[in-house]
Amino acid sequence: MDAALLPLAPLVVVAGTTVVLILLDLLPPRTSKVHLGVVALVGIVATLVSALFLWGRAGRAFSGVVVLDNFALFFDVVICYAVALVLLLSLDYLRRNGMERGEYYILVLFATLGMLLMAHAADLIVIFLALELMSLSLYVLAGFFQARLTAAESAMKYFLLGAFATGFFVYGIALIYGAAGTTALDRVGAALGSATRDPLLLIGLGLLLVGFGFKISSVPFHMWAPDVYEGAPTSVAALIATGSKAAGFAGLLRVLLSTFRGAQPDWTALLWVLAVLTMTVGNVVAIAQSNLKRMLAYSSIAHVGYMLVGVVAGGPLGAGGVLFYLLVYSFATAGAFGVILLLERGRQEAVNQDDYGGLAARHPVLALTLALFLLSLIGMPPTAGFAGKFYLFGAAVRSGYIWLAVIAVLNSAVAAYYYLRVIVYMYMRDQEGVPTEPAPSFAGRLALGIALWGVFQLGLMPAPVLDLAQAAVAPLLR
């Protein structure tokens, strides 16, 4: 490999795999495309390995628009884990829904490339391109089950609102360029640092926040999320909830912590409000949901609120806590979506909580798995969710945001209600009507096993990973 490309190894591997997939898709067999999924999986694992190998190295390439640092690598790992879980879950899911097509895997890899690029981008225009690469692929994936009206609706809503948010994002870039004369992140930061505070830069940041807020689904830019999660294929919903959210945070954190560090008091005050709104709206509305996919959508919104608490807290503790939490959250959320995806009730996906009545009696292992993922989302020890929340809220307390931490704790208390309701359905209700049965998918179970391992590994031994997360944010905070 060319020395200049070495820092970009994760990107190169994914891009290469994508090309291979496009070619493979043209070859027979036409009916089964599982092998494409397997190749994609191999590519993702190779990416993961390359990211792990590069850990600790730093560099820049292509006039400094792409960067290699621990921060980007940590996100590479999070994203690769999420995508790998999604791919494992998809292998059998597509066939069951009669939509086994190669384009699916190709688009997933394109989206992945966009996400990784987001983590590595050091220039606003590259962030923009990465965002679009990821979004365009996800728009199509959201509507992948074309025959379903809900899928089409979900794609349309996602697309229109995403494009709308993109409009703000681009205008933000324009304003920042207007103030700083450049789009390179470090030089924008220098402009911010040396000039008397320029309103144009701040407003530009505000418009960027609209775009990022949309991607991470923070209130008030969250409204697409429940509808899209509900209508999209469950595997894609999992991808949107984990990978794309992680990518959004990658861009957001790099821009805020590194480039706009000089304006920290300004955006901190704003994010304080956004964090409170996001977690409260997410948790409260989740209570009223009976569809599990929608419930998880609101739950994911609430978790964004918790992560914003970490961003507000700042410093290695807060920002590192966000990275750690993203990993924790991705495992638990992908796992929860995975269980939903495996369960069927009379040829329909089991998405209503009624479908989960008495599941524990008939499928104790699967029910226990889902229960553990939900407990992790609650933040119940010894699952990873507890450690994650502990770091985030602890960081907020350490930085003096006591009230924010109190609100977050209260929110977690409310949140337990709707997660436990599902557990109650599984353990304390009886099945009525057609029984809910899991699909016999080995890959799916493997994915759940990996996610479960993550939930416990990070819950019982969080310290090493937290150290890595803190090392990852160190280059941004320098």
Binding site: L161, M223, P381
Partner: protein, 625 residues
Amino acid sequence: MSKTVWLIPFFPLLGTLLNALFGRWIGRHAHWIAVPALGCSFLLSCAVFLKVWRGETFTGDLFPWIQAGAFTTAVTALVDPLSAVMLVAVTGVGFLIHLYSVGYMHGDSGYARYFAYLNLFVFSMVMLVLAGNFLVLYVFWEAVGLCSYLLIGFWYTRRSAADAGKKAFIVNRVGDTGFALGVMYLWVALGTLDYGAVFSRVGALSPATATVIALLLFLGACGKSAQLPLHVWLPDAMEGPTPVSALIHAATMVTAGVYMVARSHALFERSGVALDVVAWVGGITALFAATIGLAQTDIKRVLAYSTISQLGYMFVGVGVGAYAAGIFHLITHAFFKALLFLGAGSVIHALGGEQDLRKMGGLAPRMIPTTVTFLVGAAGLAGLPPFAGFFSKDEILASAYHRDQFWLWGLLLVGAFLTAVYIFRVVFLAFFGGPRMSKQIAQHVHESPLVMTFPLGALALLTAVAGVVGIPSAQGTAFARFLSPVLPLAEETGGHGALSAYALLILSVIVAVAGVLLAWLLYSSRPLSAEAIGRPRTWLHALVFNKYYVDELYGVLFVRPLLRIAGFCASAFDLGFVDGIVNGVGRLVVGWAGSMRRLQTGYVMNYALATLLGAVAIVGFFLSR
């Protein structure tokens, strides 16, 4: 010692895993895993206890758990006299109740699930007791709550059981949130959560800070230990299987609050005010719950209110600084209340699930072991010498008296009288007099199998003899001396009261005996007529007014007003007011959720509007800065 200590929680955990994962295949044989697991834990606990007796203590990390900057917390175990005593009590009572469950739950469809939950509970409780820092304490504080929730709703097909589980969950959530905030604040204030470090540095806290932290922690204790105003969940928790009520909702979990306050006494002492709050909340709860206990007709609910009341006694004990007395009452209460619950369970079992006192009576000749052991338990609860409850309760009363807390002492004394009345009311209504159950049920009344009566006997024995270690002497009780490395001996600071220790002792006895006599006069001196029982709700009044001339005096002077107060408390305050708040808050949030979700109209335009609103707000915000 370290390996032994870690094995104690390990066995129940193993039992949980086996029964949870392979329950379908293990099925009816689940107890062959669960009971031996507990047995091992109990034997190990005893071994640890003996080592502690010889003066060893142990602190050890299982593994470093959470690190955040300079702050690290490990999963730490701390074995000192206090935790050793608790360990033996938890595993011992737990073992007996596991054994009892083999008979009681026989044939239940969720047999393996039941033992999995029960083992999980014991694991969590053992870890709670072993915890060497506040974080681990909090973790297992939550975990025991979760188990309690699962076990209350165990018979989920009953709607009331599911509701009770939900209620327990919501109320405990309030307390636990307070507890979490307290732990967080503690961390902010001191930068550490290790018991040793916290208690040695507690002087660095300002009294105001210490008060806030202590009160937040105490809020958690109120939730878990069912003290006013968070007590409402416990009576409903009786929807769970009776052995569960005995283990979790009487003997162990609900006492976690008392344990926590005793454990963190340095913090509460630093505040001062917080200790008074603890004592007064305890005292008021003790009397309040005892009055309600008088008016209940469900045998398990009487015992539930009794538990609330007795927990109030323990809080008074720790609140006035007599920590050892509080813990001693905790232990003896674990014995006799578990005994009473198991006895009640035996009765319910014999009557085919009947819990209504009005439909019992005359069981004594048919169930001699149960009757005898229940009597021992009742005597223990009523505080009749020489049973354990006498010594422990008297110790608390004496401590309150000697610290010049005369009002508290008065509350508790009245409470003690009522305790004797209500528990012997149960005894007389259930075991003596004529049978009031239907013919078919009466024919089937039978003594429970040995696997159930053996635990009764063992607990009765403990209730009878455990008082020995609580005999007061010049240097305090033997129990208090054993705990003195952890809990300071009660100092006889006051001594302004006119009564000597022996006078107090005799007064306690008189009060208890008077209570028993009153109960006998009311409920057993003459046979109860059947028609009185045919009128539900008013039967007690009818009894008092029409049937017993002898009782009229008592009735007018004492019982009727008391019943009124009890009835008022039960209906207006207990059911109306506090429930209203709990349900109201719940409904508020749910209603809020309902209206908030309406914002999610499904229209792209509304979503875009929200986005625009957000953009305008953000830009405006930055512009204004």
